[in-house]
């Protein structure tokens, strides 16, 4: 897939129009994982709009987004940065052998109290 095709695909998957962004930065200002991210939520939107998908696909931030929807809630322009981050992460992990979490990674993480919801959420987010 060419870079352009990859960009169009991520835009389609995200269902959000990145051109509507007015660069106010409220999404990143509200993000609880801001300090964990190499590329910030507003930059995901901006880089995708510029077609710089290769940088996004290498980002470590895709593993830190909490899907808490705070960025989506605060956006005055109805852009959904979380959906862009998820579309980038899905693009990464849908490739053969690129899952961020494998079934065999899970047993060592399990403690007596860990809820199924946590394991299921992480596996759905990090594995395709």
């Amino acid at each position: 897939m060419t870079v352009k095709e990859q960009c169009e695909n991520v835009k389609r998957m995200s269902g959000t129009d990145v051109r509507k962004c007015m660069k106010c930065g409220k999404c990143s200002g509200r993000c609880p994982a801001f300090h964990e991210m190499d590329i910030k939520p507003h930059q995901f939107v901006s880089l995708l709009a510029q077609g710089r998908i290769e940088e996004l696909l290498k980002s470590e931030a895709i593993w830190s987004c909490l899907s808490c929807m705070a960025c989506v809630e605060r956006c005055p322009r109805a852009v959904a940065p979380a959906a862009v981050i998820e579309a980038v992460r899905d693009t990464v992990i849908r490739a053969q052998g690129a899952n961020g979490m494998k079934a065999e990674d899970i047993p060592p993480m399990v403690d007596e109290l860990i809820p199924q919801q946590l394991l299921m959420s992480a596996y759905r987010k990090y594995n395709k």
């Binding site: 389609r12 998957m13 995200s14 269902g15 609880p32 994982a33 964990e36 593993w63 830190s64 987004c65 909490l66 899907s67 808490c68 929807m69 705070a70 989506v72 809630e73 959904a80 979380a82 959906a83 998820e86 579309a87 899905d90 961020g100 979490m101 993480m109 403690d111 109290l113 860990i114 809820p115 199924q116 919801q117 946590l118 394991l119 299921m120 959420s121 992480a122 759905r124 987010k125 990090y126």
Partner: protein, 259 residues
């Protein structure tokens, strides 16, 4: 009154307290929660990519069952509620997702988002009424309780339509009905760190400590939630700053039905 109920995987295992206290309290309030047949795990997280269809189907199956059995589906776990309600909105308003999901399922009659998804708290407020609950309280809480909303009940507010996403009041009204004093604190709608703990354990720890410290500084003696993952993060990663319980445990306590 009977209402279709979707319990979800965690309420059958690690969070039985949430399920059991909710059922007991509902019975005391005249509501029988009828568990739907053959429910499947909702997937715990709503798949945001528009081309994800198969991961939404278990929610659609549950919704379709409820459509033919009273038209309402009661949820209790915040994650199930979030996934099922958002999927329902897709089925109602997104023609492409709706037709692709129906192509998979081949139901006798296509499902188009007809079911009303109702969280247990919404059921208490709109079906039973907080005034009626207050009249049935036999053991008032008489303590200061912080409501922890987290993310899943509130956001995205356009779809969830649960409460004001920045300044919610439903759990505070619930606490008041039980004879407790609600404590408003700044981090009550902040994310607990969610599933990212399996990748980065520091994040839920930092978030949970901030949330509980914020509640304690405002005078809360305990915190309540509707989410098993929030409860786990807050209790296990929150350095024991405050005890955290399910909101239904306090309801069952106040109604005098706790086993």
């Amino acid at each position: 009154m009977k209402i279709c109920y979707y319990p979800g995987c965690t309420l059958k295992t690690k969070s039985q307290a949430l399920d059991q206290t909710a059922r007991l309290a509902a019975l005391a309030l005249g509501v029988e929660m009828e568990e739907i047949e053959n429910w499947q795990c909702c997937g715990a997280v709503y798949p945001m990519a528009r081309d994800e269809i198969a991961t939404k189907l278990s929610a659609v199956r549950a919704l379709d069952y409820a459509k033919h059995n009273g038209g309402r589906l009661l949820t209790l776990c915040s994650a199930c509620h979030n996934v099922i309600k958002r999927t329902n909105e897709d089925m109602r308003s997104d023609g492409e997702i709706c037709s692709r999901a129906n192509n998979y399922l081949q139901l006798e009659e296509s499902y188009r988002g007809e079911t009303e998804v109702l969280h247990y708290l919404e059921m208490l407020k709109t079906v039973v009424g907080f005034d009626n609950i207050a009249q049935k309280v036999v053991k008032p809480l008489n303590r200061k309780v912080g409501a922890y909303y987290g993310c899943l009940l509130l956001r995205p507010s356009g779809v969830m339509a649960f409460d004001n996403p920045e300044n919610p009041t439903i759990i505070e009204d619930f606490i008041r009905a039980l004879g407790g004093t609600p404590v408003i604190y700044p981090f009550r709608n902040e994310c607990c760190g969610a599933y990212v703990g399996l990748k980065n354990p520091d994040l839920p720890k930092k978030q949970s400590e901030r949330i509980l410290r914020s509640a304690k500084e405002k005078g809360a003696e305990e915190v309540i939630t509707a989410c098993p993952l929030c409860l786990y993060n807050l209790n296990e990663k929150g350095s024991g700053i405050l005890p955290v319980k399910y909101f239904t445990e306090l309801l069952a306590e106040a109604l005098g039905v706790k086993s």
